[in-house]
Symmetry: C2
Subunit: 142 residues, 2 copies
């Protein structure tokens, strides 16, 4: 516990502020399509050609381009173009920073799963994981 709490509030109410805010879930990566792109590239350290990445993520050209741009601007992904005109190929790859931030994101995801597992366990045991007994109203709705 970080500080004294007034008598009219439980310590849990103070200590638990932002407990489920999940701020470490970086929004740039968290968006579902971008999460798929990041995971694809993490699984293919040598990079993926644009058509390969599009297939793995089941995205349209337009959507893949749009999300890649966001990831490039955030410095997480780099795109290398080779060749010219119709013969050109784009290879996408995580940057060093992208790899590090994806690792941090995955760590934050693990917290979510731990919370969910604890909740499940408490539910099976008939309890509640984060809240002390309180004067909350009874619950009647279905």
């Amino acid at each position: 516990m970080k500080r004294k709490t007034p008598a009219d509030k439980t310590s849990a109410e103070h200590d638990e502020r932002g407990r489920f805010a999940y701020e470490a879930l970086d929004r740039t990566i968290h968006e579902r399509a971008r999460l798929g792109i990041m995971a694809s590239l993490a699984a293919n350290a040598d990079g993926l050609l644009f058509p390969e990445l599009r297939k793995l993520c089941d995205l349209t050209d337009g959507n893949l381009n749009r999300h890649l741009l966001v990831l490039q601007e955030a410095g997480l992904v780099e795109v290398l173009k080779q060749g010219e005109g119709r013969a050109s190929q784009s290879t996408c790859k995580l940057t060093r920073r992208g790899r590090a931030e994806f690792a941090a994101y995955v760590e934050a995801l693990e917290r979510v799963l731990q919370d969910a597992a604890a909740a499940r366990k408490a539910l099976d045991a008939g309890g509640s994981t984060t809240r002390a007994a309180s004067n909350k109203p009874g619950w009647s709705a279905g």
Copy 2:
């Protein structure tokens, strides 16, 4: 492998379509603030009063209301109001459906973590998890 593949494509290209699309990550739950709300309520099976939920998720009144509305409209959360005027209290709780869909979402998250763990392992081993050897161009950018 589900089907024969033309000679000009690797079987991996077919089999891996949508491999990283993560369609089971329901977007209603996946949004970060709503994920926090769902996890808070999963951890508190008896429900949470509005101010408690707001603290746990570190959201403003307006944002919490907005996200709760989305979750209510999707049938995942129910809000029970008791009392009148300034003395009224709102209790938020997962519906049966909300609990089931959160469990399915968590299962999908586990897949993401498994993919990330496999990618990490492959990287440590100097390999690649989803892609067979191919004629991809060499990668030179930083």
